[in-house]
């Protein structure tokens, strides 16, 4: 009987008296926090898309940071209103939370913690182009639990942050405004390779999308069925990557034909098969 009275007394002390809890204040904090976060989610991407290109990634990257700061501030504000914070109470809350998390919300909390880590370690930020597992696309939103990416096929893919514990995250631009693009060409090996390198380099150098500050590379390797050329260059804006690669490919094919090169279908098929295998 004494034991149950004691625990009841402790539980009563854990929470503040009902009449002392200012529900309107809690409501106000929650609504304000929600408004600020929703506003940041709405305004920052809007400004990022319509404002100067050089600031786009900064605006996009600010969204999860604003959300984290606002949530943290709101929780810190609300906790003392609801709970009577003492060391003993802290242990009680932590114990209860641990049990709940351990049994019911393990994966969810793992994603939440990974989301926290993602904000600080920044394996991806809004505006980055990432490959997670089989999915490649632009990071549109870094939420509390998951990251949303938009694929080139315009699919929205939601991936829990907990994937950062187990998967490699391949980030193509890592916060930069540009990323390397590669146009592949497969040629019959009987050609003047030096001329072909020079021709392909001029193709990249004269692209309207080219970032002047980055290098242009032409790499080639001999395959059993032909010569594989990789034309590597950077567009000045990452959003142009597909236009850029298409432009390089179209003009590269014309340049190869004009230089007497002959494209090899067999080499392309063989290379794709080996990549798939």
């Amino acid at each position: 009987m004494d034991g149950s009275d004691q625990s009841g007394e402790q539980a009563a002390k854990l929470l503040n008296d009902l009449q002392d809890i200012s529900f309107w204040q809690i409501g106000l904090v929650i609504v304000t926090a929600w408004l600020v976060i929703a506003g940041a989610r709405l305004i920052l991407p809007y400004v990022a898309d319509r404002g100067p290109s050089q600031f786009r990634l900064y605006f996009l990257g600010a969204v999860p940071i604003v959300r984290l700061v606002v949530l943290f501030a709101a929780i810190l504000w609300i906790i003392p209103i609801v709970f009577d914070i003492t060391f003993q109470n802290f242990l009680v809350i932590a114990g209860a939370a641990s049990v709940a998390i351990g049994f019911a919300f393990k994966d969810y909390v793992s994603s939440l913690i990974a989301g926290l880590v993602a904000v600080f370690e920044r394996p991806y930020r809004p505006g980055d182009w990432v490959q997670i597992g089989d999915d490649y696309g632009e990071v549109r939103k870094v939420g509390m639990r998951a990251v949303s990416i938009q694929t080139p096929a315009d699919n929205a893919v939601t991936i829990p942050h907990s994937r950062i514990w187990t998967d490699n995250i391949s980030n193509s631009n890592d916060g930069a405004r540009t990323l390397m693009c590669i146009a592949d060409f497969y040629l019959d090996p009987r050609h003047d390779a030096a001329l072909m390198r020079s021709v392909l380099k001029d193709v990249a150098l004269t692209s309207a999308y080219l970032d002047y500050a980055r290098p242009v590379l032409v790499m080639l390797s001999e395959k059993p069925f032909g010569t594989h050329y990789q034309l590597k260059a950077y567009p000045f804006d990452q959003r142009d990557q597909f236009d850029f690669v298409s432009d390089l490919t179209v003009r590269g094919k014309l340049a190869i034909a004009a230089a007497g090169g002959k494209e090899s279908v067999a080499a392309a098929v063989a290379d794709m098969t080996s990549a798939a295998g």
Binding site: V47, D49, R50, G51, P52, S53, Q54, R177, V199, D202, V203, L205, T206, S207, A208, Y209, L210, D211, Y212, A213, F236, D237, D240, D243, S246, D247, V250, R251, L254, A255, A258, A259
Partner: protein, 397 residues
């Protein structure tokens, strides 16, 4: 009215400076905030703003009068400054470097370097027709550069086409310049110079480019007041429609009372031909009933002076939302110093037909000279800002 000190020392024309030392004149604070507000407004407005001011306003001052008070050419004192810069170097018998590079901002319609070269009797190497630049895989045909006396290549931007097969001629030309045994002056627009430095290593052969000193408030005032006083038969005053102030009035310390020239200098990026076009487009004839100064229908006041009203400078506004095709066209035109429609198609990654050029001509960003399409000088600051905002590779001026 006292004459302000000239930028050049003791009446001598100013000399050109290295392009990295070029500093664009600042805008007045009020104008800076006004433009910032306009940009934010353009960003949040869903509807696209009217790209330029109404065309009928541009007709108010007659062309004859404009030619009297703001006479062409739009080169300002730059030709004299070019001679002051290159004259001593050309007079050297054994100069340290036999090449001089002059880099100018785009939209120079007067051919400043060519005019200077003709005036001083230097040999000029004309660029080949653009169609001849696409020489497939044969060796490019280059002019013979040997001979006596200085040689001038006024527009290097005309020697290439941003096409997979359009760089050979300029490569050959640069190699020939490098070994020729005479002094060579190479002129190039600032955008083409950056491109050629990246694409063909022009900056390895050509020495550091030089350009004019930016036309700030007082340099513009000196030049424009000189232009307006050149026509002796007319006594022109330039007044602000808001308050009737004479924009040419100076304080006792020699500074201008109105911010008009400071705004003009900032808006024109310190480029004289851009300022010249903006200034001409801002002049209006006629009287305003709300103003204290009474003028007749010809703009003559009681004191027999002819009044020209200085209206707000034209606002060229590119669409705030990202229109890549428009910017690609403008970038290509700036880079090449003008292209025909067929050449434009060769240098752009266009897919299908496009009406962008017609739209740009209608909006006042582009003008057509016979078959050649060029960016308008007055629109250049807006174009430059649009390209910079979209992340395009920029020039250094």
């Amino acid at each position: 009215m006292t004459s302000p000190p000239s930028t050049g020392a003791a009446g001598k024309p100013a000399t050109f400076i290295p392009i990295d030392e070029y500093r664009r004149p600042p805008l007045p604070t009020e104008e800076t905030f006004r433009r910032l507000y306009s940009k934010i407004l353009a960003m949040v407005q869903r509807s696209k703003p009217d790209p330029i001011m109404a065309e009928e306003q541009l007709q108010k001052a007659t062309l004859e009068l404009l030619d009297d008070v703001v006479a062409p050419p739009a080169a300002g004192p730059v030709i004299g400054e070019l001679q002051a810069t290159l004259g001593p170097w050309l007079a050297e018998k054994k100069p340290v470097r036999h090449i001089a590079t002059i880099v100018l901002p785009p939209c120079d319609e007067n051919g400043i370097i060519e005019t200077w070269a003709r005036r001083h009797g230097h040999g000029i190497v004309e660029a080949p027709a653009r169609g001849d630049l696409l020489s497939s895989f044969g060796d490019p045909v280059l002019p013979d550069l040997t001979g006596e006396g200085p040689l001038v290549i006024p527009r290097l931007e005309r020697w290439f086409l941003r096409h997979r097969d359009g760089l050979k001629t300029v490569r050959g030309l640069l190699a020939a310049i490098d070994v020729v045994d005479r002094q060579v002056v190479v002129g190039c627009n600032s955008w083409a110079f950056e491109f050629l430095s990246m694409a063909v290593g022009a900056n390895m052969i050509l020495p550091e480019g030089k350009t004019f000193q930016a036309f700030d408030e007082m340099r513009l005032y000196d030049w424009i007041s000189e232009l307006s006083q050149a026509e002796e038969s007319t006594n022109i005053t330039f007044r602000l429609p808001q308050n009737g102030k004479n924009v040419m009035d100076l304080d006792e310390d020699g500074t201008l009372r109105a911010d008009t020239f400071k705004t003009l200098a900032g808006r024109s990026l310190g480029i004289p031909w851009v300022a010249w076009h903006m200034w001409r487009r801002s002049l209006r004839l006629g009287s305003d009933p709300d103003l204290e100064i009474e003028t007749d229908a010809d703009g003559r006041s009681e004191t027999d002076e002819q009044v020209l009203w200085v209206a707000a400078l034209d606002e060229y506004v590119l669409p705030a939302d990202r229109d890549q095709t428009v910017l690609l066209v403008l970038h290509a035109l700036i880079l090449h110093g003008g292209l025909t429609a067929d050449e434009l198609r060769l240098v752009l990654p266009s897919v299908g037909e496009s009406n962008v050029v017609s739209a740009l001509i209608s909006a006042g960003f582009v003008q057509r000279h016979d078959t050649l399409l060029k960016c308008r000088a007055a629109a250049y600051p807006a174009i430059r800002e649009g390209l910079m905002s979209a992340g395009f590779p920029m020039d250094r001026l």
